[in-house]
């Protein structure tokens, strides 16, 4: 049975699945297309905003008792002491707290920043190099599979990187690489952070290296797109003036997209700051003090939240969970600040004398 209907015809109940039903639905959609377009896009625009607001409000409220009790010690202190969860409960500033509980998140905050910075220091040069190779150097027949591999790398679940790190990379580095770096470094400020016991491969440097591998595809993919946008005329002009390939890259290609590269790096930084499971596996997961040297076990805010969540539920006062919420809020604030800084840098970069050629 085929019934042709015009949009003006009154709605008739049609069994779903029958051709008549499809036609009716299609007619209805077509008739109200503009309404759907307007409302649909409005909803789509509101959902992310509402999601962000909702999340921040919830963790802020959940964390409020912890914010009041922990005070500034949370940002300066190092002890992560859940207190006597099986013992007495005391009341601090009107909040029920297990006796002896005191939470200082400084090692977590510092660990988050240190591991992310190490990751970026490794990832940015490699990513830019890879992007240049893909766009400028390699023949298409090689560039295509390499580019594909970089994109695939971005899609690998982080738990695989964690497993790889703890089973292979960490022990290998600890056995063959770290001791050599440690003994070769001079005992002067900054570089002496590279000296001392090298451990078993679970720690800050291993975390930074694994994070770098996770961040490289993000920065590379974005940077490749940027390099493709550099007008060939400018590059050819520079070559015509007698510049070598290296000089063209240094003085034309890279400056053209400098602010874009910063933006791409910040994208990577965002990933590194929030990475959880891989870090929980390879950081050595040590609470209570900051890393003594670059090989020491440490932990980050995200890894601590995931590893401490279960035991926080055994704190009947709920203070441990509130503290994790506070830590989550700190992580959210760090991410937002980093993103705002990135925008500032990108905007500033655009105003400076970068050739625009428009």
């Amino acid at each position: 049975m085929t019934v042709l209907r015009t949009a003006a015809e009154p709605e008739q109940p049609a069994s779903p699945g029958s051709p008549g039903g499809f036609a009716a639905v299609r007619g209805f959609l077509r008739k109200h297309e503009t309404t759907f377009w307007r409302r649909g896009t409005l909803v789509a625009a509101i959902v992310p905003f509402v999601g962000l607001t909702f999340t921040i409000i919830v963790i802020a409220i959940k964390g409020w008792p912890a914010i009041r009790v922990n005070g500034t010690y949370f940002f300066t202190g190092s002890s992560w002491n859940p207190g006597s969860t099986y013992g007495a409960t005391t009341t601090v500033k009107g909040v029920a707290v297990p006796q002896g509980a005191s939470y200082g998140a400084w090692p977590l905050i510092l660990g988050t920043i240190q591991s992310s910075v190490i990751a970026l220091l490794i990832a940015i040069p490699i990513s830019i190099g890879a992007a240049l190779a893909l766009t400028e150097r390699l023949p298409k027949i090689v560039a295509r599979p390499v580019g594909f591999a970089v994109e695939l790398l971005a899609g690998i679940p982080s738990v695989l990187f964690g497993l790889w790190g703890i089973l292979t990379v960490g022990p290998l580095l600890a056995r063959d690489v770290y001791p050599k770096i440690s003994s070769a470094m001079p005992n002067v400020p900054i570089l002496n952070f590279f000296k001392g016991p090298t451990g078993q491969g679970e720690g800050l440097l291993t975390s930074g290296i694994i994070l770098a591998i996770m961040v490289i595809p993000i920065i590379t993919a974005t940077t490749v797109d940027l390099f493709r946008q550099v007008p060939p005329l400018n590059q050819e002009g520079a070559r015509a003036l007698g510049m070598t390939d290296a000089e063209v890259t240094r003085s034309v290609t890279v400056p053209w997209v400098r602010s874009g590269i910063i933006g791409a790096s910040i994208l990577g930084l965002g990933r590194a700051l929030g990475e959880t499971i891989a870090i929980a596996m390879i950081s050595g997961a040590i609470l209570g003090h900051t890393a003594q040297n670059i090989y020491s076990p440490m932990t980050t805010i995200a890894a601590t939240i995931v590893s401490q969540l279960d035991s926080s539920f055994t704190d009947a006062t709920g203070f441990a969970t509130a503290t994790l919420a506070e830590a989550a809020l700190v992580l959210a604030v760090i991410s937002v600040v980093v993103n705002l800084l990135a925008r500032l840098i990108v905007n500033k970069g655009n105003r400076l004398g970068v050739p625009t050629g428009k």
Binding site: T34, W37, R38, T41, L42, A45, I46, F49, V50, T53, F54, I57, V58, I61, K62, S79, W80, N81, P82, G83, S84, T85, Y86, G87, T89, P98, Q99, G100, I166, L167, G170, P171, P197, G199, Q200, G201, E202, A280, M281, G284, A285, I286, L287, G288, H289, Q292, S296, P297, T299, S307, Q308, L309, D310, S311, S312, F313, T314, A316, T317, G318
Partner: protein
């Protein structure tokens, strides 16, 4: 392009209330957790309940279990076997950790919470109808990776306490050598490994250190599923018992506390098993014999609530770290049918011919509840309604 397809002020006016609604939702979500009216449960009858398996309800019931990763494999085999006998009752199991097991059971989102640790006094106070029902007895071994050493290294709680405080840092320390006259221990730095996630094993281990070193560890570090570990150079945190084994295997010189079910896996990884000094001064390995000896010494002190720490037995051949594995259950279930199903499953588990048979317990290294404790558990189960 049609101008009408872009948002004007009219559309954006809807966005503002939407955000306010979101904020209100956030507030509502937070407010709901605070109200829990105390419910009183009838005190368990003085008469002892029957130890026979309670018949399940005739209608179909789907029960949920969540919690302890140590109990998870056992609960899986228990659930499968029980459902084979009683096809109308299904049990979904989940390995989420003891903390989630306790909180889910107390919140009523799971029928049975599995936990290696008993409820804290504060939790019982907050949810008076909650019970911790002993299901079986587990243990923990102290593993180490010391190349070249064959045979079991003898260790005591006070030495372990000093190791985990960073006061004993090498395997050739005189304190360790003194209790191992037959072994030659190498000059090898000790790497302490502890659980980074919350764990019933941390609970047991810290209880043991507190009991064995009451004036040192016991005074400074309260026990719990997560504790404030003293700063020790090179110390490593690991996630889960498997993570403990991986970390220990990777680090020669390591020492780790691991749930007894993982003994076979640890041995495959080349990790040794320490003999622990008990209160009588004997060095014991966690075997069915030493665990049973320890369990029997605690039977008469097990209270009606089942809440008991079984650390540092006085039995001369008892292993010093054993514990009851618990089901965390609300005494008041949502309806009679669910209550009947929960009672049936739990009574089946503690039955020596069913869930507490060695076919289930031996593969994971657990032992059955002593008869008196099983009676206490049966009384608790009978009071569920």
């Amino acid at each position: 392009m049609n101008k009408g397809t872009r948002w004007g002020a009219k559309q954006l006016r809807f966005a503002v209330p939407a955000v306010i609604v979101a904020a209100a939702l956030g507030l509502a979500a937070c407010g709901s957790s605070s109200s829990s009216s105390p419910t009183t449960t009838a005190a368990s009858s003085t008469k002892n309940a029957s130890l026979a398996v309670i018949a399940p309800p005739t209608s179909s019931v789907a029960l949920s279990e969540t919690g302890s990763s140590l109990l998870f494999p056992l609960f899986g085999s228990w659930g499968t076997a029980y459902t084979e006998q009683h096809p109308n009752i299904t049990i979904s199991t989940a390995s989420t950790g003891s903390g989630v097991g306790i909180s889910s059971a107390l919140a009523g989102t799971a029928n049975i919470g599995a936990s290696d640790a008993y409820l804290s006094p504060a939790q019982v106070q907050a949810t008076p109808s909650a019970m911790n029902i002993p299901l079986a007895i587990s243990s923990q071994f102290i593993g180490y990776n010391v190349p070249g050493v064959t045979g079991n290294i003898n260790l005591s709680g006070s030495v372990l306490s000093q190791i985990y405080q960073g006061k004993i840092t090498n395997w050739n320390d005189p304190a360790i050598a003194k209790m191992n006259p037959k072994l030659t221990l190498p000059n090898l730095p000790i790497v302490t490994v502890h659980r980074a996630d919350g764990s019933g094993d941390t609970f047991l281990f810290s209880e043991f250190l507190s009991a064995a070193d009451p004036n040192g560890w016991g005074k400074s570090i309260p026990y719990g599923t997560t504790i404030a570990w003293p700063t020790v150079t090179g110390a490593v945190g690991a996630t889960g018992n498997s993570g403990m084994i991986t970390a220990c295997k990777a680090a020669p010189g390591c020492i780790a506390y691991i749930g007894i079910s993982y003994l076979a896996k640890a041995q495959l990884a080349g990790i040794g098993e320490a003999a622990l000094k008990n209160a009588a001064g004997n060095y014991e390995l966690p075997t069915a014999t030493t665990m049973t000896a320890a369990a029997n010494s605690f039977v008469n002190s097990t209270p009606k609530s089942g809440t008991l720490s079984m650390i540092n037995t006085k039995a001369s051949n008892g292993y010093p770290i054993i514990n009851y594995e618990y089901a965390i259950v609300l005494g008041t279930q949502p309806n009679a049918t669910t209550a009947q199903a929960v009672k049936s499953v739990l009574s089946w588990i503690i039955s020596p011919t069913n869930g507490n048979a060695s076919t289930y317990l031996t593969p994971v290294g657990f032992i059955a509840l002593p008869a008196k404790t099983a009676q206490i558990a049966a009384n608790q189960i009978a009071s569920i309604h």
